[in-house]
């Protein structure tokens, strides 16, 4: 049976990278006594896959992993056993069963949304954000930026890969909301968009000045973005 687990990552756990988070969950599953299925072969491993790796330093309210189990208790019971063995900084918030035909989260990830905040001690650029936003993103039909990778440079159109972009003010400081294309092809990091916005303002973005928080991850279902957490069903 396929199970999708949603969890939050906060506090100092943001410093634990993707691979270590995977190892962390393998041990949690054992401590919690989840009846997980193992692969065949000489060195069997838990059947487990993560939806979209989260970068070091980023917090999240919407992380997902899919596992395969031989048997399961109710969602409420399994949530309780999992949360009883979590370290501070990880909280499991949902445990749902998926249909056998349902695809793995990692193969259907299409988007993720984020909140980017300026950290305390750093000053945001002093501009009219509403006007700047209209001019940089909302108005133009195309917003080309150059994306540098390790091997090459690529020109991409933000209008095609940014699905949502808002700037709102909180205590006179801007908060950037971004919903961006995520997945193996055309993956766009939210900070890349912010960097381009800063460049448009004639400023250079200090990567240390923002705290990125992932809100949720979405898959493509019948041509629409659906939260990975809304798929499947609660086990009563």
């Amino acid at each position: 049976m396929k199970i999708r687990i949603k969890f939050r990552k906060y506090g100092v756990m943001k410093f634990i990278g993707h691979l270590d988070t995977m190892r962390y969950f393998q041990k949690c599953i054992r401590r919690a006594g989840i009846d997980i299925a193992y692969s065949e072969g000489f060195s069997p491993h838990q059947i487990m896959s993560f939806a979209a790796p989260l970068g070091v330093g980023i917090t999240s309210d919407g992380e997902y992993l899919d596992i395969e189990v031989n048997s399961t208790k109710s969602s409420a019971e399994e949530l309780q056993s999992l949360n009883a063995v979590m370290a501070e900084g990880v909280e499991v918030v949902s445990y749902r069963s998926l249909k056998d035909t349902e695809k793995k989260a990692m193969s259907i990830v299409a988007a993720a949304d984020y909140e980017l905040r300026i950290r305390d001690g750093y000053e945001p650029p002093k501009v009219d954000y509403e006007a700047a936003f209209r001019e940089f993103f909302d108005g133009p039909k195309e917003v080309f930026i150059t994306k540098k990778t390790k091997k090459s440079e690529k020109t991409i159109d933000l209008k095609k890969l940014v699905y949502g972009f808002r700037i709102f003010m909180e205590q006179d400081r801007p908060v950037f909301y971004l919903k961006v294309c995520t997945g193996s092809t055309d993956n766009l990091k939210p900070e890349t968009v912010l960097e381009a916005f800063y460049a448009f303002l004639g400023e250079k973005l200090d990567p240390f000045c923002i705290q990125i928080h992932r809100i949720d991850v979405y898959g493509m279902q019948d041509g629409a973005l659906v939260s990975l957490g809304e798929m499947g069903e609660r086990i009563e």
């Binding site: 100092v12 270590d20 949690c28 000489f42 370290a87 501070e88 909280e91 240390f208």
Partner: protein
């Protein structure tokens, strides 16, 4: 408790610093099974330190035992601290951020004790780094009421003298026995308002506690020790090592810490016995952990189950010296295979003798194609193996390897030492010859039953004589001699018929010389260690960081002659810096063993015959087996 209600811990380091150093997880604490207490509710705050990087320190069993044992007390809060990696070291220095403990993230400075486990000589400068970054004066004599008491323990504490200037106290022996008494004294002293020295004076009377500032060494003109004695009445002249005689019921953590990042020993560790019956003459652990004490097998089974359940690890390692000598090993391993098979847990069995039983076990828990067999003959010729009293014979090795090859193994690792007492060129060449014979044994198997070439890897290290071993009087050699030894082995390997199946690795010799100086040094070395740290020596155990020339400058500038500690042959009558410690084994026994070594005579193991080593006075373990 609702997760939301918990107060989030605030790291001592800013996000900016944590994001700019390698592996920030080394510094954030909060691991699974980390103990969280309210520091204001305890009477004693103890910072437990392993003076090396997190991944090494977290792999150490002793700290896990003491961490658990201390935290069982409601009046003590024990936290951990490890050496910051050079990248963070720089930042802490530049920004003047004090070193902190992982759990509370509070500065070490506010603790009552800083306990440092001293596992190897090459961490001595890291100890100074810990003190320095904590804002604790490096010299014990400069510390005041506002500073923690710095206490050292572990195997290197059996010769604490080179570190005498830096520690307020040392604990000699196994930690399980005397800490309660020490804590009790501390609480009373704290309330009394008396000075620091008064606490040390009382502590010096606790069994196993050595307070170096109450002792004085007097030297002959030739530099050897003329006398070593307490400077006050009531301070014991001899320090008794501490031994936990009942290991079965001794505290053992059932919920060990589980790190977030991969560490060196990333598995459940179950100690099955302490001590070793074998009596290899070079081995300090085999002497200072006497007598050999086993844990009850039923308790071990229960502990294995609990440990796996409480950590979620998928591997368990049985920890001891020479684990084949544990009398109920078969029963324990069979249980683990049955129990763990269901839970898909791997079992690792270090220090196992290669025989039918161990091969059978290994074929069940490991992938034969990938795994390798390990033999530690330590010396190439039978003559030299008799000198060092390593019981392993050529026949046993060849038989074990043969069985393994028949069973499908292809890789063999061989460990040897060079620079052993009485060693000749022939002994060195015999290393290559033994490897060749093992390879030949592989090619005895008909072609159709083997797949390709075998792989024999020889590794050599250079021998460093250690205190409380029969070789504690042995001379060492200049660096050039060690490299010559390695060259001899390398040439000999090239002359073997099966040279294509043999690989040879050896180590640098610089670090051996330094280890030799520190291992058998006296308290005059303190100033050289301090000078080396001031010159920037740090992480000396890491070949990338080890700077031999700085160390040699430090010795030169402080008037220390390294040769005095290394190449000089010590007389059996000489007062050795560690003679004031009673480690169980008597000097008379060590002398007997040294003589027998030079005559090439072997000594039978403790189960076959009592050799009156002195550990019998503890009246337990192997010394009283079959006597009821």
């Amino acid at each position: 408790m609702d997760l939301q209600d918990k107060k989030e811990r605030k790291p001592a380091l800013s996000d900016k610093i944590l994001m700019s150093v390698e592996k920030p997880a080394r510094y954030i604490g909060g691991e699974v099974n980390a103990v969280m207490k309210d520091p204001s509710q305890v009477e004693i705050r103890f910072a437990m330190c392993f003076p090396d990087v997190y991944e090494i320190g977290m792999s150490h069993l002793g700290i896990q035992i003491l961490y658990d044992m201390f935290n069982r007390r409601s009046d003590v809060y024990c936290e951990r601290v490890y050496s910051p990696w050079p990248d963070l070291h720089r930042i802490l220095k530049e920004e003047q951020i004090p070193l902190f403990a992982l759990e509370s993230q509070d500065p070490i400075q506010v603790f009552d004790f800083l306990g440092i486990t001293i596992q190897y000589e090459m961490c001595y400068t890291n100890i100074l780094q810990i003190l320095d970054l904590s804002g604790i004066p490096l010299l014990a004599k400069d510390r005041g009421m506002e500073h923690p008491f710095v206490i050292g323990g572990g195997p290197c504490a059996y010769n604490p003298e080179p570190l005498a200037d830096f520690f307020d106290l040392f604990y000699i022996g196994e930690g399980e026995t005397s800490y309660d008494e020490l804590f009790c004294l501390y609480k009373a002293w704290k309330k009394s308002g008396m000075d620091r020295k008064e606490f040390l004076r009382k502590a010096a009377r606790v069994p196993g506690i050595y307070v170096p500032s109450f002792y004085e060494a007097v030297y002959h003109e030739d530099g050897t020790i003329a006398d070593f004695h307490p400077t006050e009445d009531g301070i014991p002249a001899r320090i008794e090592k501490q031994v936990a005689m009942d290991l079965t019921d001794a505290p053992y953590p059932s919920k060990p810490l589980v790190p977030f990042i991969q560490v060196t020993q990333d598995r459940v560790v179950l100690e099955i016995q302490r001590g070793c019956i074998r009596g290899c003459r070079f081995c300090q652990a085999g002497m200072i952990y006497r007598p050999t004490r086993e844990k009850d097998v039923e308790v071990l089974k229960r502990q294995a189950y609990e440990l796996l359940k409480n950590t979620g690890y998928e591997e368990i390692s049985l920890n001891s010296l020479s684990s084949s000598d544990y009398s109920r090993l078969k029963e324990l391993v069979t249980y683990l295979i049955e129990e763990c098979g269901e839970r898909r847990v791997n079992i690792s069995l270090p220090s196992l003798r290669i025989d039918e039983f161990s091969l059978d076990v290994m074929s069940k828990v490991q992938d034969i194609k990938k795994s390798s067999l390990t033999f530690a003959p330590e010396a190439g010729s039978q003559r030299l193996r008799d000198v060092i009293n390593k019981g392993l014979t050529r026949e046993v090795i060849l038989e074990g390897a043969g069985k393994a090859f028949e069973g499908g193994w292809q890789k063999v690792k061989l460990y040897f030492m060079l620079g052993l007492p009485t060693e000749t060129v022939e002994d060195q060449e015999a290393i290559a010859e033994l490897a060749n014979e093992i390879a030949a044994r592989y090619y005895d198997i008909p072609k159709e039953r083997r797949s390709g070439r075998c792989q024999i890897t020889i590794s050599t290290s250079f021998f460093v004589p250690k205190p409380f071993t029969p070789f504690q009087w042995a001379k060492m050699y200049p660096k050039e001699h060690y490299l010559e030894c390695a060259k001899t082995v390398n040439e000999a390997v090239k002359n073997q018929l099966n040279k294509k199946s043999i690989r040879y690795n050896w180590h640098e010799a610089d670090v051996t010389v330094l280890e030799g100086i520190l291992a058998r040094g006296d308290r005059r070395l303190g100033k050289a260690i301090l000078r080396a740290y001031e010159k920037g020596c740090l992480f000396d155990a890491w070949s990338d960081f080890y700077d031999h020339s700085k160390w040699m400058e430090a010795f030169l500038e402080t008037g220390i002659h390294p040769d005095f500690y290394t190449v000089r042959e010590r007389s059996l009558e000489e007062i050795l810096p560690w003679d004031f410690i009673d480690a169980g084994v008597t000097k008379a026994f060590l002398k007997r063993e040294y003589h027998k070594a030079l005559e090439g005579k072997v000594t039978l193991n403790c189960r076959m015959q009592c050799n009156s080593c002195g550990a019998g006075k503890y009246q337990g373990g192997v010394c009283v087996e079959n006597q009821n």
